[in-house]
């Protein structure tokens, strides 16, 4: 795929995402209106004392006494200037709070997704090639079991086994605090902290991708071009990997994109289990501190992240199957 068609695909998907972005912003604003109490209450509670006059002054300072439409305009104006408001709890702009955590969450998610895709596609391929035999049946049962296991519980059990009993891997955090590692040792240290949370998060998706790969490969196997490839005398491995698997990957990537949001949601719980300093932990801490500005900022940012991920999947599709055109 050349650069020009790539940018055309990107422009098209970006255009299609516009209504969704507007919807997410509006819904976020509506949720904000539903919150019991407002920023003035929060500030008053933080300072410990407030009179009715000072509360009214605070409200007019934050623009909370304005009609709803004016507040919406102010909110949109803030968004245009990349501002999601200020967290009363941390006394920091929400954008910089999120920015500080985003990298960690993305690292965790990308690793988990990579684990899930690699293991899931491999297992699914084995199941499809061995369909109906004992390998297929055993792996199917295992996949269904993984599909039914909550990620946070998987993580806790992994801590019991690998950290407490075997002592192989650390129980939490994103690096050894105070160790002051640099360079390669730092990378290894972070990777060691990354393994368990990423595996806990990927369990459910390993199950999904393996089942999907199996079904998609069985679907593709019956098509004419596969018979042609076999008739040409290609090696079974070449047929399976180059012809069947490549075509089976299209539904797999679609579903991977669809589940990006679920993965982000799962990050909240897994990050809490492993005290991983990411967006999910930030969301959870802001619930505990009733810090709604941060909470809604995280919701908005992660929705935008999902939209970006879906655009990337569209791009990937155009590369996997050039026939997929403007719809």
């Amino acid at each position: 795929m050349n650069l020009r068609s790539a940018s055309r695909t990107l422009a098209r998907t970006a255009w299609q995402a516009v209504p969704t972005v507007i919807g997410v912003i509006l819904l976020n604003f509506v949720l904000m209106q539903w919150i019991p109490g407002d920023a003035a209450d929060v500030v008053a509670a933080e300072s410990g004392s407030a009179t009715a006059e000072s509360m009214a002054q605070l409200r007019s300072h934050f623009g909370l006494d304005l009609p709803v439409l004016h507040q919406l305009a102010a909110y949109l104006n803030n968004l245009v200037h990349f501002s999601l408001g200020t967290s009363p709890r941390y006394n920091m702009p929400v954008v910089s709070l999120i920015g500080a955590r985003l990298g960690n969450t993305l690292l965790l998610m990308v690793t988990a997704l990579a684990f899930a895709l690699a293991i899931g596609i491999a297992v699914g391929t084995v199941m499809a090639i061995r369909v109906g035999r004992w390998q297929d049946r055993t792996l199917s049962v295992l996949a269904l079991l993984l599909y039914s296991t909550p990620g946070f519980w998987l993580g806790l059990m992994a801590i019991v086994l690998f950290s407490v009993h075997l002592g192989w891997l650390p129980t939490g955090g994103s690096e050894s605090i105070g160790a002051g590692y640099t360079g390669w040792t730092h990378v290894v240290d972070v990777a060691r902290h990354l393994v368990l949370p990423a595996l806990a998060m990927s369990g459910f998706y390993i199950a999904i991708f393996s089942r999907l790969t199996r079904a998609a490969m069985l679907e593709v196997t019956r098509q004419d071009f596969v018979r042609t490839a076999e008739a040409k005398g290609l090696h079974p491995w070449t047929v399976n990997l180059r012809h069947v698997l490549r075509n089976a990957l299209i539904p797999v990537t679609t579903v991977a994109g669809m589940h990006f949001g679920t993965l982000l949601g799962g990050a909240v719980v897994v990050e809490t289990v492993f005290s991983w300093p990411g967006l999910g932990r930030l969301a959870f801490d802001s619930v505990a501190g009733r810090d709604y500005t941060v909470l809604l900022g995280v919701l908005l940012m992660s929705s935008l992240l999902v939209i970006v991920a879906n655009m990337l999947v569209d791009l990937l599709h155009a590369w996997l199957d050039p026939r997929i055109q403007v719809r």
Partner: protein, 323 residues
């Protein structure tokens, strides 16, 4: 959450045959009874075949048995383990098997673990079923309206569905529960509100495929109203994939509820499997069974629902049977 057969939805439904040709042979002249019989006959017999296939599937039957066991446990929990499961009744931190009176041990406050699991089954299953019903209602209404009417209405509803699919649903549930109160009704509402898009998409696809079929044309030609055609003619025929997805919906609602109460955002007045895991987590190093046992209960229940879902899927899609 995913549907158990994402492939089937990914593949476009068979394109309806040219409408003009069909309209010519639409059975207007036939007596209404005959039309009605023709409408009902086919789906009914295929549904019997599906039921038979389901009953012959050992994995699905294992799921049913497991599910019935959990239901019985939930229903009879107040009889089997009377009293508040949050009461301290035993010496603290008994290991499973250590005391025959408390077969699954006790936690750090001396609460009976097996009583907690039995009472937790009530919360988990109730939340799962009611939340799934709520999202089923929203999903069917949105999907049926969008698929049946099409056009501008369809565009708007599809946009709204996409919006709810874009937001990470678990984060959305957290936000709604944080804004409301951590009580069972709010949690059910939040989960139901977050998980209807799957159903809406499914129902919309079915309605789009079915609205041009002969039996719908026959119903139209008899002058039935939109509501009657939607709910009495098309919906019963669109149900099989919805029924299959419902079990997955219940399973995912149970998983969401457990994650929520694990984080301490569940109903503080009710024992649930998630909250038991959350409390057991503090003693993970020494008394890991406090975390393991309620988790195993979640896995078994969700597994049962998924087995049933897979069995229904195989039964309703004979094309895929025997794979």
């Amino acid at each position: 959450m995913s549907t158990p057969f994402p492939l089937d939805t990914a593949i476009a439904p068979p394109a309806p045959a040219p409408v003009v040709a069909r309209r010519a042979q639409a059975p207007v002249a036939k007596a209404p009874e005959a039309v009605k019989a023709a409408v009902d006959a086919k789906p009914l017999s295929s549904r019997h075949a599906a039921l038979r296939a389901f009953l012959r599937n050992p994995a699905a039957m294992a799921g049913v048995v497991l599910l019935v066991f959990m239901l019985v446990l939930a229903l009879f929990a107040p009889l089997l383990y009377p009293g508040d499961p949050l009461d301290m009744v035993a010496p603290p931190l008994l290991w499973p098997g250590q005391d025959a009176a408390y077969p699954l041990g006790s936690d750090s406050l001396g609460r009976d673990v097996i009583a907690g699991i039995a009472h937790g089954a009530r919360v988990s299953l109730a939340v799962g079923v009611v939340a799934a019903t709520l999202s089923l209602l929203i999903g069917v209404l949105v999907g049926a309206t969008a698929g049946y009417f099409g056009g501008r209405i369809d565009d708007v509803l599809v946009r709204i569905t996409e919006l709810f699919q874009t937001m990470p649903s678990f984060l959305f549930v957290i936000v709604v529960v944080a804004i409301g109160q951590p009580s069972v009704p709010v949690i059910v509402f939040a989960i139901g509100l977050a998980s209807w898009p799957v159903i809406a998409r499914l129902v919309r696809a079915e309605f789009r495929a079915l609205r041009e079929t002969e039996f719908v044309l026959a119903a139209r030609s008899q002058g039935f109203g939109h509501a009657r055609i939607i709910f009495q003619e098309i919906l019963p025929n669109a149900l099989p994939p919805v029924i299959v997805t419902t079990s997955v919906l219940v399973a995912s609602a149970i998983l969401i509820e457990s994650a929520l109460s694990f984080l301490g955002m569940g109903d503080p007045n009710a024992v649930s499997w998630g909250s038991m895991i959350g409390q057991g987590r503090e003693l993970l190093r020494t008394a890991w069974f406090l975390t393991a046992l309620p988790g195993a209960a979640i896995v078994l229940t969700v597994l049962a629902l998924n087995l049933v879902g897979d069995g229904l899927n195989d039964a309703f899609n004979p094309r895929l049977r025997g794979r």
